[in-house]
Amino acid sequence: MEDREIVSLFASRDERAIAEAKKKYSRYIRSIAEHIVHSMEDAEECENDTYLGAWNSIPPNRPEDLRTYLGKLSRRIAIDRFRKKTADKRGGTETALSIEELAECNPGALKSTDPVEEAIDAAELSRVLDRFLRTLPDAERRLFIRRYWYFESIKEIADRFGYGESRVKTSLFRTREKLKAVLMEEGIHL
Protein backbone atom coordinates (compact mmCIF):
# COMPACT_ATOMS: atom_id res chain seq x y z
CA MET A 1 0.00 0.00 0.00
CA GLU A 2 1.20 3.50 -0.81
CA ASP A 3 2.20 5.86 2.01
CA ARG A 4 -0.49 8.33 0.95
CA GLU A 5 -3.19 5.67 1.43
CA ILE A 6 -1.84 4.68 4.86
CA VAL A 7 -1.88 8.33 5.96
CA SER A 8 -5.47 8.57 4.71
CA LEU A 9 -6.37 5.52 6.83
CA PHE A 10 -4.80 7.18 9.88
CA ALA A 11 -6.67 10.40 9.10
CA SER A 12 -9.97 8.57 8.76
CA ARG A 13 -9.32 6.74 12.06
CA ASP A 14 -9.24 3.37 10.34
CA GLU A 15 -7.40 0.77 12.44
CA ARG A 16 -6.06 -0.91 9.33
CA ALA A 17 -3.62 2.02 9.18
CA ILE A 18 -1.55 0.51 12.01
CA ALA A 19 -1.48 -2.94 10.40
CA GLU A 20 -0.42 -1.48 7.08
CA ALA A 21 2.25 0.73 8.66
CA LYS A 22 3.58 -2.24 10.61
CA LYS A 23 3.66 -4.40 7.51
CA LYS A 24 5.67 -1.80 5.65
CA TYR A 25 7.90 -0.15 8.26
CA SER A 26 8.22 -2.54 11.21
CA ARG A 27 11.83 -3.43 10.42
CA TYR A 28 12.87 0.18 9.93
CA ILE A 29 11.22 1.43 13.12
CA ARG A 30 12.59 -1.42 15.22
CA SER A 31 16.09 -0.96 13.83
CA ILE A 32 16.16 2.69 14.93
CA ALA A 33 14.88 1.82 18.39
CA GLU A 34 17.31 -1.07 18.81
CA HIS A 35 20.28 1.16 18.09
CA ILE A 36 19.22 3.43 20.97
CA VAL A 37 17.89 1.12 23.66
CA HIS A 38 20.03 -1.94 22.81
CA SER A 39 17.30 -4.36 23.80
CA MET A 40 14.91 -6.40 21.66
CA GLU A 41 12.09 -6.14 24.17
CA ASP A 42 12.48 -2.41 24.63
CA ALA A 43 12.71 -1.95 20.88
CA GLU A 44 9.44 -3.87 20.44
CA GLU A 45 7.74 -1.65 22.98
CA CYS A 46 9.16 1.41 21.27
CA GLU A 47 7.72 0.14 17.99
CA ASN A 48 4.24 -0.25 19.46
CA ASP A 49 4.50 3.18 21.07
CA THR A 50 5.45 4.57 17.67
CA TYR A 51 2.24 3.30 16.04
CA LEU A 52 0.30 4.70 18.96
CA GLY A 53 2.10 8.03 18.56
CA ALA A 54 1.25 8.09 14.87
CA TRP A 55 -2.39 7.27 15.66
CA ASN A 56 -2.52 10.18 18.10
CA SER A 57 -0.72 12.70 15.88
CA ILE A 58 -2.36 11.97 12.49
CA PRO A 59 -4.46 14.06 12.35
CA PRO A 60 -3.77 16.92 12.88
CA ASN A 61 -0.42 16.14 11.21
CA ARG A 62 -0.46 14.83 7.67
CA PRO A 63 3.14 13.75 6.94
CA GLU A 64 4.38 13.79 3.36
CA ASP A 65 7.16 11.30 4.17
CA LEU A 66 5.54 8.65 6.38
CA ARG A 67 8.69 6.55 6.67
CA THR A 68 10.80 9.39 8.14
CA TYR A 69 7.87 10.57 10.25
CA LEU A 70 7.58 7.15 11.88
CA GLY A 71 11.37 6.99 12.18
CA LYS A 72 11.49 10.28 14.04
CA LEU A 73 8.70 9.17 16.36
CA SER A 74 10.50 5.90 17.06
CA ARG A 75 13.78 7.75 17.72
CA ARG A 76 12.19 10.18 20.17
CA ILE A 77 10.38 7.41 22.03
CA ALA A 78 13.52 5.28 22.21
CA ILE A 79 15.63 8.19 23.50
CA ASP A 80 13.05 8.86 26.22
CA ARG A 81 13.09 5.21 27.19
CA PHE A 82 16.88 5.19 27.20
CA ARG A 83 16.94 8.24 29.50
CA LYS A 84 14.52 6.68 31.90
CA LYS A 85 16.48 3.47 32.07
CA THR A 86 19.85 5.15 32.49
CA ALA A 87 18.80 8.03 34.77
CA ASP A 88 20.92 6.80 37.64
CA LYS A 89 23.90 5.51 35.64
CA ARG A 90 25.65 6.99 32.64
CA GLY A 91 27.96 5.53 30.06
CA GLY A 92 28.59 2.05 28.86
CA THR A 93 26.38 2.00 25.78
CA GLU A 94 26.90 3.23 22.26
CA THR A 95 24.03 5.69 22.66
CA ALA A 96 25.59 7.20 25.77
CA LEU A 97 28.90 7.41 23.93
CA SER A 98 27.29 9.25 21.02
CA ILE A 99 25.62 11.71 23.33
CA GLU A 100 28.85 12.35 25.23
CA GLU A 101 30.67 13.01 21.98
CA LEU A 102 28.27 15.81 21.19
CA ALA A 103 29.22 17.53 24.45
CA GLU A 104 32.32 18.69 22.58
CA CYS A 105 30.11 20.90 20.43
CA ASN A 106 28.99 23.01 23.35
CA PRO A 107 30.74 26.39 23.17
CA GLY A 108 31.00 26.59 26.96
CA ALA A 109 33.06 29.77 26.97
CA LEU A 110 30.08 31.68 25.66
CA LYS A 111 27.68 30.20 28.14
CA SER A 112 25.34 32.83 29.48
CA THR A 113 24.64 33.31 33.16
CA ASP A 114 21.00 33.90 32.32
CA PRO A 115 19.70 30.62 30.92
CA VAL A 116 16.21 31.92 30.28
CA GLU A 117 17.37 34.90 28.24
CA GLU A 118 20.00 33.04 26.25
CA ALA A 119 18.31 29.73 25.95
CA ILE A 120 17.33 28.71 22.54
CA ASP A 121 14.39 26.50 21.93
CA ALA A 122 14.76 23.13 20.30
CA ALA A 123 13.06 24.25 17.08
CA GLU A 124 15.60 27.02 16.51
CA LEU A 125 18.47 24.66 17.28
CA SER A 126 17.03 22.19 14.79
CA ARG A 127 16.94 24.88 12.12
CA VAL A 128 20.61 25.76 12.77
CA LEU A 129 21.59 22.10 12.64
CA ASP A 130 19.62 21.63 9.42
CA ARG A 131 21.39 24.57 7.79
CA PHE A 132 24.77 23.40 9.04
CA LEU A 133 24.31 19.83 7.75
CA ARG A 134 23.37 21.12 4.31
CA THR A 135 26.72 22.91 4.05
CA LEU A 136 28.66 19.69 4.61
CA PRO A 137 29.99 17.42 1.86
CA ASP A 138 27.72 14.42 1.18
CA ALA A 139 29.98 11.82 2.78
CA GLU A 140 30.65 13.88 5.89
CA ARG A 141 26.97 14.67 6.36
CA ARG A 142 25.88 11.07 5.98
CA LEU A 143 28.46 9.87 8.49
CA PHE A 144 27.32 12.51 10.99
CA ILE A 145 23.63 11.62 10.62
CA ARG A 146 24.31 7.88 10.82
CA ARG A 147 26.14 8.47 14.07
CA TYR A 148 23.94 11.06 15.83
CA TRP A 149 20.53 10.41 14.31
CA TYR A 150 20.57 6.64 13.84
CA PHE A 151 23.03 6.03 16.71
CA GLU A 152 25.04 3.50 14.73
CA SER A 153 28.41 2.39 16.07
CA ILE A 154 31.65 3.45 14.38
CA LYS A 155 32.13 -0.08 13.11
CA GLU A 156 28.64 -0.26 11.61
CA ILE A 157 29.17 3.04 9.81
CA ALA A 158 32.59 1.98 8.55
CA ASP A 159 31.15 -1.30 7.25
CA ARG A 160 28.17 0.43 5.68
CA PHE A 161 30.25 2.87 3.68
CA GLY A 162 33.38 0.80 3.18
CA TYR A 163 35.66 3.08 5.18
CA GLY A 164 38.19 2.36 7.87
CA GLU A 165 37.06 3.06 11.45
CA SER A 166 39.79 5.66 11.96
CA ARG A 167 38.59 7.53 8.92
CA VAL A 168 35.04 7.60 10.28
CA LYS A 169 36.27 8.84 13.66
CA THR A 170 38.38 11.56 12.06
CA SER A 171 35.48 12.71 9.89
CA LEU A 172 33.11 12.86 12.87
CA PHE A 173 35.66 14.77 14.95
CA ARG A 174 36.12 17.39 12.22
CA THR A 175 32.37 17.76 11.79
CA ARG A 176 31.90 18.30 15.51
CA GLU A 177 34.59 20.99 15.42
CA LYS A 178 32.82 22.68 12.53
CA LEU A 179 29.48 22.49 14.38
CA LYS A 180 31.05 24.06 17.44
CA ALA A 181 32.36 26.94 15.32
CA VAL A 182 28.93 27.42 13.73
CA LEU A 183 27.19 27.46 17.12
CA MET A 184 29.68 30.07 18.34
CA GLU A 185 29.11 32.18 15.23
CA GLU A 186 25.36 31.97 15.69
CA GLY A 187 25.75 32.92 19.34
CA ILE A 188 23.94 29.81 20.48
CA HIS A 189 24.54 28.79 24.07
CA LEU A 190 23.39 25.40 25.12
Partner: protein, 166 residues
Protein backbone atom coordinates in the same frame (compact mmCIF):
# COMPACT_ATOMS: atom_id res chain seq x y z
CA UNK B 1 19.02 19.11 30.28
CA UNK B 2 22.60 18.86 29.25
CA UNK B 3 23.84 20.52 26.08
CA UNK B 4 24.62 17.29 24.26
CA UNK B 5 21.16 15.92 25.02
CA UNK B 6 19.60 19.05 23.62
CA UNK B 7 21.64 18.60 20.48
CA UNK B 8 20.45 15.01 20.23
CA UNK B 9 16.87 16.18 20.58
CA UNK B 10 17.43 18.94 18.05
CA UNK B 11 18.71 16.39 15.57
CA UNK B 12 15.17 15.02 15.44
CA UNK B 13 14.09 18.28 13.81
CA UNK B 14 16.36 18.18 10.78
CA UNK B 15 14.83 17.80 7.35
CA UNK B 16 13.30 14.50 6.27
CA UNK B 17 15.38 14.63 3.10
CA UNK B 18 18.61 14.66 5.12
CA UNK B 19 17.49 11.62 7.11
CA UNK B 20 16.52 9.82 3.92
CA UNK B 21 19.75 10.81 2.20
CA UNK B 22 21.82 9.24 4.98
CA UNK B 23 20.25 5.86 4.18
CA UNK B 24 22.21 5.72 0.93
CA UNK B 25 25.35 3.67 1.07
CA UNK B 26 27.24 5.86 -1.36
CA UNK B 27 29.33 8.45 0.47
CA UNK B 28 31.78 8.56 -2.39
CA UNK B 29 34.62 10.94 -1.70
CA UNK B 30 36.24 12.89 -4.53
CA UNK B 31 39.43 10.85 -4.15
CA UNK B 32 37.59 7.57 -4.61
CA UNK B 33 35.64 9.04 -7.50
CA UNK B 34 38.86 10.24 -9.12
CA UNK B 35 40.50 6.84 -8.67
CA UNK B 36 37.48 5.18 -10.18
CA UNK B 37 37.66 7.52 -13.16
CA UNK B 38 41.36 6.82 -13.60
CA UNK B 39 40.63 3.11 -13.50
CA UNK B 40 37.85 3.33 -16.05
CA UNK B 41 39.94 5.51 -18.36
CA UNK B 42 42.88 3.10 -18.11
CA UNK B 43 40.59 0.15 -18.82
CA UNK B 44 39.02 1.88 -21.81
CA UNK B 45 42.43 2.86 -23.18
CA UNK B 46 43.82 -0.65 -22.84
CA UNK B 47 40.74 -2.15 -24.49
CA UNK B 48 41.08 0.35 -27.33
CA UNK B 49 44.75 -0.53 -27.81
CA UNK B 50 44.00 -4.25 -27.85
CA UNK B 51 41.15 -3.72 -30.30
CA UNK B 52 43.43 -1.71 -32.57
CA UNK B 53 46.45 -4.02 -32.25
CA UNK B 54 44.69 -7.25 -33.14
CA UNK B 55 43.62 -6.34 -36.71
CA UNK B 56 46.90 -4.52 -37.33
CA UNK B 57 48.95 -7.55 -36.32
CA UNK B 58 46.74 -9.87 -38.36
CA UNK B 59 47.15 -7.61 -41.38
CA UNK B 60 50.89 -7.34 -40.84
CA UNK B 61 51.48 -11.07 -40.57
CA UNK B 62 49.15 -11.76 -43.48
CA UNK B 63 51.02 -9.33 -45.72
CA UNK B 64 54.43 -10.60 -44.75
CA UNK B 65 53.27 -14.15 -45.35
CA UNK B 66 51.99 -13.20 -48.81
CA UNK B 67 55.23 -11.40 -49.56
CA UNK B 68 57.33 -14.40 -48.58
CA UNK B 69 55.11 -16.67 -50.63
CA UNK B 70 55.51 -14.43 -53.69
CA UNK B 71 59.25 -14.32 -53.22
CA UNK B 72 59.39 -18.10 -52.95
CA UNK B 73 57.36 -18.50 -56.14
CA UNK B 74 59.59 -16.06 -57.96
CA UNK B 75 62.71 -17.90 -56.83
CA UNK B 76 61.26 -21.19 -57.99
CA UNK B 77 60.44 -19.76 -61.41
CA UNK B 78 63.94 -18.29 -61.72
CA UNK B 79 65.47 -21.58 -60.72
CA UNK B 80 63.34 -23.44 -63.20
CA UNK B 81 64.33 -21.07 -66.00
CA UNK B 82 67.96 -21.42 -65.09
CA UNK B 83 67.69 -25.18 -65.12
CA UNK B 84 65.94 -25.15 -68.44
CA UNK B 85 68.61 -22.91 -69.94
CA UNK B 86 71.35 -25.18 -68.65
CA UNK B 87 69.65 -28.21 -70.16
CA UNK B 88 69.30 -26.47 -73.48
CA UNK B 89 72.98 -25.55 -73.47
CA UNK B 90 73.98 -29.11 -72.79
CA UNK B 91 71.72 -30.55 -75.48
CA UNK B 92 72.31 -28.24 -78.44
CA UNK B 93 75.01 -25.87 -77.54
CA UNK B 94 72.90 -23.11 -79.05
CA UNK B 95 72.12 -21.76 -75.63
CA UNK B 96 68.47 -21.49 -76.60
CA UNK B 97 65.65 -23.87 -76.05
CA UNK B 98 63.05 -24.56 -78.73
CA UNK B 99 60.38 -23.46 -76.34
CA UNK B 100 58.43 -26.71 -76.59
CA UNK B 101 58.40 -27.88 -73.03
CA UNK B 102 56.53 -31.20 -72.77
CA UNK B 103 54.00 -30.27 -70.21
CA UNK B 104 51.79 -33.29 -70.47
CA UNK B 105 53.49 -36.31 -71.92
CA UNK B 106 51.24 -38.88 -73.58
CA UNK B 107 48.89 -36.47 -75.28
CA UNK B 108 48.69 -35.94 -79.07
CA UNK B 109 50.12 -32.50 -78.74
CA UNK B 110 53.12 -33.88 -76.96
CA UNK B 111 53.64 -36.52 -79.61
CA UNK B 112 53.28 -34.04 -82.43
CA UNK B 113 55.68 -31.69 -80.83
CA UNK B 114 58.05 -34.57 -80.25
CA UNK B 115 57.95 -35.92 -83.77
CA UNK B 116 58.34 -32.49 -85.31
CA UNK B 117 61.25 -31.56 -83.18
CA UNK B 118 63.21 -34.78 -83.83
CA UNK B 119 65.63 -34.52 -86.75
CA UNK B 120 65.33 -37.21 -89.51
CA UNK B 121 68.20 -39.61 -89.73
CA UNK B 122 69.35 -41.19 -92.91
CA UNK B 123 70.48 -44.82 -93.59
CA UNK B 124 74.07 -43.88 -93.07
CA UNK B 125 73.25 -42.40 -89.70
CA UNK B 126 73.60 -38.78 -90.75
CA UNK B 127 70.94 -36.24 -90.38
CA UNK B 128 68.89 -35.51 -93.48
CA UNK B 129 67.30 -32.30 -94.55
CA UNK B 130 63.55 -32.54 -94.31
CA UNK B 131 61.87 -33.14 -97.66
CA UNK B 132 59.82 -30.42 -99.17
CA UNK B 133 56.26 -31.44 -99.76
CA UNK B 134 53.64 -29.97 -102.00
CA UNK B 135 50.28 -29.01 -100.94
CA UNK B 136 48.99 -32.57 -101.37
CA UNK B 137 51.78 -34.03 -99.41
CA UNK B 138 53.69 -35.49 -102.41
CA UNK B 139 57.28 -34.77 -103.31
CA UNK B 140 57.71 -32.52 -106.34
CA UNK B 141 58.14 -34.54 -109.60
CA UNK B 142 60.57 -32.17 -111.28
CA UNK B 143 63.05 -32.60 -108.57
CA UNK B 144 62.65 -36.34 -108.70
CA UNK B 145 63.18 -36.38 -112.47
CA UNK B 146 66.21 -34.20 -112.18
CA UNK B 147 67.69 -36.50 -109.68
CA UNK B 148 66.98 -39.57 -111.84
CA UNK B 149 68.58 -37.99 -114.93
CA UNK B 150 71.59 -37.11 -112.91
CA UNK B 151 72.01 -40.73 -111.86
CA UNK B 152 71.66 -41.89 -115.48
CA UNK B 153 74.32 -39.50 -116.59
CA UNK B 154 76.58 -40.65 -113.87
CA UNK B 155 76.05 -44.27 -114.85
CA UNK B 156 76.87 -43.60 -118.58
CA UNK B 157 79.96 -41.71 -117.59
CA UNK B 158 81.13 -44.51 -115.39
CA UNK B 159 80.36 -47.06 -118.15
CA UNK B 160 82.45 -45.18 -120.69
CA UNK B 161 85.39 -44.88 -118.43
CA UNK B 162 85.26 -48.58 -117.67
CA UNK B 163 85.36 -49.52 -121.36
CA UNK B 164 88.32 -47.29 -122.14
CA UNK B 165 90.27 -48.80 -119.37
CA UNK B 166 89.61 -52.23 -120.81
Amino acid sequence: MRAEERLIDAMNGIGDDLVRDAEDRIPVTPVVRKNKWVGWVALAASLFLIAAAVPVSILHFGLSRNASREMLTKNLIDEYKQLEENNANKAGGTGKSNGNIPVNPGTDKFQEADSDSLPEVGEDGREEEPREMDSEGREEESELKESSSETEEESTETGESETTEE
